[in-house]
């Protein structure tokens, strides 16, 4: 009986019955769902993105608008106690109160989410594309091209990142006329040093693939180098690149916040989570609650992204699980 059942043709039939067709995407999703923290991260991050996207609608007031009813007009420069402008959370319709010059903290947080997420997502897209391209060229052509590119990567990786970014930000972005342009310059600076690890990652994958039969076959069929790179090499590097780019978004959120916190990133009055913490330092003796929210937003965003990255790694590359 047992022998009879193991006929090749019956195995084939059972398999067809037992495994319904499942797309790659749904396999990945099924594995991702199992990672509960990653799922939680995805939910929190989506909420943040949604809040950021709807900020102009949801925010009760303009992020740069002052609440003027309590102290009259603009803050009095001679006032001994400027934080008088602070309204406590919940006071006069300000859910989280107002900051040291009387701006609604909740509205500023929402708009800051826009800035912080815009910077980190665009910087990630830019870095990953440039990194993938340079990595693919380096791995595919090998030889002296590879040598030169990888020496450049090695060299740039030894540079102290934050000090260099700070200096570049002062040198380049300071000349930008509008705050939006300044933000875009900031993104360019982040990309300038953001592509390095992706380039290494993709190079490694391409290096191991370019001598394999399917690449040979494609070459023999007359495909151009560009086509082989785009159609055969990069798709194979997609899984690690997706994981790396998820984690990169978190890195950029922190880096942008650090630069803005130090006063060389996004400039006030445009709010960013980082620069909202700058002024807090002066007033933390009088109103410490102001320090909680922007930092908590940064922390939660980055934590969610890191959990998601971990979940994606498990889902896309099960061999890496547990590392």
């Amino acid at each position: 009986m047992a022998v009879h059942e193991l006929q090749p043709d019956s195995i084939l039939r059972t398999e067809q019955i037992l495994t319904p067709e499942e797309s790659q995407l749904s396999i990945v999703w099924r594995r991702f769902r199992k990672h509960r923290l990653a799922l939680l991260g995805a939910i929190i991050l989506s909420t943040f993105i949604l809040l950021a996207a709807l900020a102009p609608v949801l925010a009760p007031s303009v992020p740069t608008g002052l609440h003027v009813t309590k102290v009259g007009l603009l803050p009095d420069p001679d006032a001994i106690d400027p934080p008088n402008q602070h309204l406590k959370p919940g006071e006069q319709g300000h859910i989280l109160g107002t900051d040291e010059v009387g701006r609604d903290v909740f509205s500023r947080l929402l708009h800051a989410a826009r800035v912080s997420l815009y910077v980190s997502i665009v910087a990630t897209l830019g870095s990953e594309m440039i990194g993938a391209l340079i990595g693919a060229i380096s791995g595919y052509y090998g030889g002296s091209v590879d040598q030169v590119l990888m020496r450049i990567v090695d060299f740039m990786l030894t540079l102290p990142l934050l000090p260099i970014l700070l200096v570049l930000s002062v040198v380049i972005a300071v000349s930008a006329p509008t705050s939006f342009q300044r933000i875009n310059y900031l993104i360019l600076i982040l990309i300038l040093f953001g592509w390095l690890s992706t380039a290494r990652l993709v190079r490694g994958v391409v290096l191991s693939l370019r001598q394999q039969e399917f690449a040979e076959a494609s070459r023999a069929l007359g495909s151009s180098d560009l086509r082989i790179i785009l159609r055969h090499m990069l798709p194979n590097a997609l899984a690690p690149v997706i994981v790396a780019s998820t984690l990169a978004v978190g890195d950029f959120v922190v880096t942008e916040a650090a630069l803005s916190f130090l006063g060389f990133g996004v400039q006030p009055p445009t709010p960013s989570w980082g620069n909202m913490l700058t002024s807090v330092q002066e007033y933390m003796f009088l109103n410490p609650t102001l320090a909680i929210w922007p930092g908590l937003c940064i922390f939660l965003t980055v934590l969610s992204i890191n959990f998601m990255g971990d979940g994606l790694r498990d889902a896309l590359d099960p061999r890496m699980r547990g590392h």
Binding site: L37, F155, T158, L159, P160, L161, L162, P163, I164, L166, V167, L168, V170, V171, V174, S175, G250, V254, A257, A258, F261, L262, G263, F264, L277, V280, Q281, M284, F285, P288, A291, I292, P294, G295, I298, F299, V302, L303, I305, N306, F307, D310, G322, H323
Partner: protein, 357 residues
């Protein structure tokens, strides 16, 4: 090994020259500088600066030189520049005469423009080095002391409660922005503890300004506690994950199985055979993360007003003090390059399987 060392020294020199070039180019294409500030002030008062004065100032600061000569003068000084034919040393106001600079290679790092006006950069920076080194050493040690046992235990007891707790904490650690953690620590341990009448920690600085114990070792240590913890958390988290991975790798090696097979107690297998080998890759990671540690030090020193190099660089940035920044970045490059070399050598010393030739 000797051959390898000579080759490494050679690449080190190239890397240092390239970094110095990059640092110089970035800072010298910067808008601003000492004279634009001056012009700005003069225009405010409705006065135009006297052109002769302006020329004299430019010549004094060496700003009349073309950029490539400024780089050479910055590196090697300009007291020999008349050796060159006049056409090669053409400045803004004619051929340049011998100057007084010796160049950073000969110990002349220029003078600070703003943060310590008129003082030699090298001295200003070196004054800050001990504080930064203390902070970074303390943080590295604390990170290692926590990360190594946590990583090893997580690996040995993989998927246990301890492993999950450690994993969760490491996720929190790598997601925590250093500067926010610092601010929250100041609020809690300096402000709230003080309000509640509990013993509180100093909120900033490296020593107390006044009081009985100002400047003593105990006072310094007290000021070091919060900055060290704030700076360590990120590295603790990262390194414990790394240690766990490294330990897991080693535990699956053949020689560990051999050690078990010959009947050794599990404790000895882990302590003598696995642990020591799992430590080796950590050397590279610690060396590679030194530049991240410097970045973290800028943030920590700023939050805690700790008078180290990072705080100095932050002040110099805000006031366009390029000579100080150039000096700071040069010191960083030298330390980072040197530490990479030391890590490579240490690798050979502790791991006989690796040989350079």
């Amino acid at each position: 090994m000797t051959n390898y060392l000579i080759r490494r020294m050679f690449t080190m020199a190239i890397v240092l020259i390239l970094s110095s070039l990059a640092i110089f180019v970035i800072l010298n294409t910067a808008p601003g500088g000492p004279l634009s500030d001056l012009k700005f002030q003069r225009r405010d008062k409705g006065q135009q600066i006297n052109p002769q004065d302006y020329q004299r100032l430019e010549q004094m600061l060496g700003l009349d030189k073309p950029t490539h000569l400024r780089y050479v003068a910055w590196l090697a000084g300009d007291d020999w520049i008349e050796i060159l034919p006049p056409a090669w040393r053409m400045g803004k106001y004619g051929p340049l005469p011998n100057g007084k600079r010796l160049g950073i290679l000969r110990g002349d790092w220029g003078e600070s423009w703003a943060v310590a006006k008129g003082n030699p950069v090298l001295r200003v920076l070196l004054n800050r080095v001990p504080n930064t080194v203390t902070l970074m050493t303390a943080s590295t040690l604390l990170s290692l002391i926590v990360a190594i046992p946590v990583g090893v235990l997580s690996a040995v007891k993989q998927y246990s409660t301890l492993d999950y707790v450690a994993t969760t904490f490491s996720f929190i650690g790598i997601s925590m922005p250093i500067f926010w953690l610092g601010i929250m620590m100041v609020i809690l341990f300096s402000l709230k503890f003080h309000d509640w009448g509990l013993p509180s920690l100093p909120s900033g600085g490296a020593i107390s300004v006044r009081g009985a114990g100002a400047g003593t070792l105990g006072d310094r240590l007290l000021h070091l506690i919060m900055p060290t913890i704030a700076l360590s958390l990120l590295f603790m988290a990262g390194w414990s994950r790394f240690m766990r991975t490294s330990m897991l790798d080693v535990l699956h090696q053949d020689y560990v199985r051999t050690a078990r097979a010959k009947g050794l107690v599990e404790r000895i297998v882990i302590a003598k055979h696995a642990f020591r080998n799992a430590l080796i890759p950590l050397i590279t990671i610690v060396a590679l993360q030194l530049s991240a540690l410097f970045g973290g030090a800028i943030l920590t020193e700023t939050v805690f007003a700790y008078p180290g190099m990072g705080r100095l660089a932050y002040d110099a940035l805000g006031r366009s003090d390029w000579p100080v920044l150039q000096g700071y970045l040069i010191i960083l490059s030298v330390i980072i390059v040197a530490s990479n070399l030391i890590a490579d050598i240490a690798y050979v010393v502790v791991d006989p399987r690796i040989r350079y030739d």
